[in-house]
Amino acid sequence: MSATPPAGSASLKLARSNRQSDSRKRADRVGDLSLRLICMAAALLAAIVLVLIAKEVVEGAHPSIARYGLSFITNHEWAPPLEKFGGEGLILGTLITSAMALLIGAPVAISIGIFLALLAPVSVRNVISPLVEMLAAIPSVILGFWGLLILGPVLVSTVEPFLHDTLGFIPLFGAPQTTGASIFNAGLILTIMVIPIIASVSRDLFMAVPPELQDGAAALGSTRWEVIRGVVLPSTLSGMMAACLLGLGRALGEAIAVAQVVGGGTESHLSLFRNGGTIASLIALQFPSAVSALHTSSLYYLAAILLVIGVTSNLLASWVGYRFGSAGGAMR
């Protein structure tokens, strides 16, 4: 192109450039198609992995499912040397620790969201927001280690006796044990884990509430709290539910930190201050050293139960976010 073309070769040049653009068009068609196909293949791969995960877990659980059926869920004895496997204690432990994490964590996290989105000056928000997100970045194994060595002794020496003395008539607050490893400790560690998740999602939700609505309420004489209660919270209710479900999914599935602080029990009981187990933590503790094929299979069974609960809460979160308004926007 840079050289000056000889006179009279205009038509020749045009033909050549046509030929060039033909080959280029062909290359572009191939390129377009292959990039599109590669991208589709990647998306398909992810879907296939999900299906494979479900298949492998259910297949692994098959011997145990065949042996126990659904009574696995209500059998409360888990004794690998005696070949007795029942998941009630672990399912109960999972539900209690997760419920505790949500009951304490959700109000705190939503308050943090309110503070960050609506009350804090921008300069303060820009400092606190990353700090709250840093809390989510702490690896669970370190949080669990901290819970075992630092939080546990404090709980045993002060908090648990106090709660037992004042609220001991409720079965949840039974007699404290000598070690810091307890359901209560696990619940608190999970609380620390869910707070940053729910807080950052609800902060985004609250910041997306149109300021005109808030200003309107304020102009009608509402106090700040009345603006929040009357305008901000109702319009983001579904999003907050989705955020809590996300947090719940995280709490249900956390294996390592819980395994470190929960004490590795398998009994079915309601006392917060005794050791116990959750589905995820028991898999982490016993899977590498399973004593029999049925033991391994029962662990797969537990994994399948966890998979069902976890995926359900996740799908519910994404359905709630999708179904009810713009809340889904803040979720991703």
Binding site: I138, I192, G249, L306, S318
Partner: protein, 300 residues
């Protein structure tokens, strides 16, 4: 102007008094102030918990860390574990980054209305998948299924399943920020779609993609469950750079030490925790700064 009849409301107007709410208004302001106080307290509590945890790790870990600790193998130090975690996470990143980026490209450039939703759903479910389930899955597939043994790359595969949705979501977010006029300008000049994607859109989104990848690396470096099931038998007394073998690593070492009631082991675990937390927080903060800078550039 008639004065209010009720006696409890100020009967006379005194212009020298400051304007303050009385009765019901005062109560409402009080409630509002209490609630705002609670919100502030909650934020302070979260930051305090962070400070207590990180402070505890730093205070205990600083005692363990010295030159031998980070450069020598097992009896004196933990160098093989540090290198091993780098190997496992590095291999995982190599597996996860292309897939995650391609999925994000599919969602933002190619997917029609009908295929966006299912793929997005798959990503959401994958993102919420408990890591222990992923670990059990890879164990069933690659160790139990084929009668194999533990290996670093198997742990990497599990970590990459955890990383893909994180990378995909982060990449999708920055692809959304690439200005539409750049796409239109490319199309108007007759640039083919794939050339436009590879030479215009991806380069513009590159800082964001790197950020998303770094964040997922930070997450994967601390994941313990997959590595515990898939590469936990290696001892830390020799370096192992080959991901086809069992690779010693940091999170599993911390976990194992925390399960043994051994004070010296605890000291080592604190030291490892401090190193791990320092790496992860640096990665997190650094990539966030990078993202903010590039976002400002792109939206300007």
């Amino acid at each position: 102007m008639s004065l209010p009849r009720r006696r409890d409301v100020a009967p006379e107007f005194d212009p020298t008094q400051p304007l303050v709410g009385t009765g019901n208004l005062r109560r409402r302001h009080g409630v509002s102030r209490v609630v705002q106080g609670i919100a502030v307290a909650a934020a302070i509590a979260a930051v305090a918990v962070l400070a207590i945890v990180v402070g505890g790790v730093v205070a205990h870990g600083a005692k363990a860390i010295n030159w031998d600790f980070v450069t020598k193998p097992a009896p004196q130090g933990v160098a093989p574990n540090l290198v091993g975690t780098a190997v496992i996470v590095g291999v995982a990143t190599l597996m996860a980054a292309p897939v995650g980026i391609l999925i994000a490209l599919f969602l933002s450039e190619y997917a029609g209305r009908r295929s966006t939703r299912p793929v997005q759903l798959v990503m959401d479910v994958m993102n919420g998948l408990p890591s222990i389930i992923v670990a059990v899955f890879v164990y069933a597939l690659l160790i139990e299924g084929v009668g194999g043994k533990q290996a670093g790359w198997k742990a990497s595969l599990a970590l990459s399943i955890i990383m893909v949705p994180l990378i995909a979501r982060g990449t999708q977010e920055v692809l959304r920020l690439v200005p539409g006029h750049q796409r239109e300008a490319a199309a108007a000049l007759g640039v083919a779609r794939w050339r436009g994607v590879l030479t215009i859109i991806l380069p513009a989104a590159l800082p964001g993609i790197i950020t998303a990848t770094l964040l997922s690396v930070a997450r994967a470096a601390g994941e313990t469950a997959p590595v515990l099931l898939l590469s936990s038998f290696a001892s830390g007394d020799a370096f192992q750079l080959n991901p086809l073998e069992e690779v010693p690593n940091v999170p599993v070492r911390i976990f194992q030490l925390s399960e043994e009631a051994n004070p010296e082991g605890f000291t080592e675990a604190w030291g490892l925790s401090l190193i791990l937390i320092a790496i992860i927080l640096t990665l997190g903060l650094g990539s966030r700064a990078l993202l903010n800078r590039s976002k400002r550039k792109m939206t300007r």
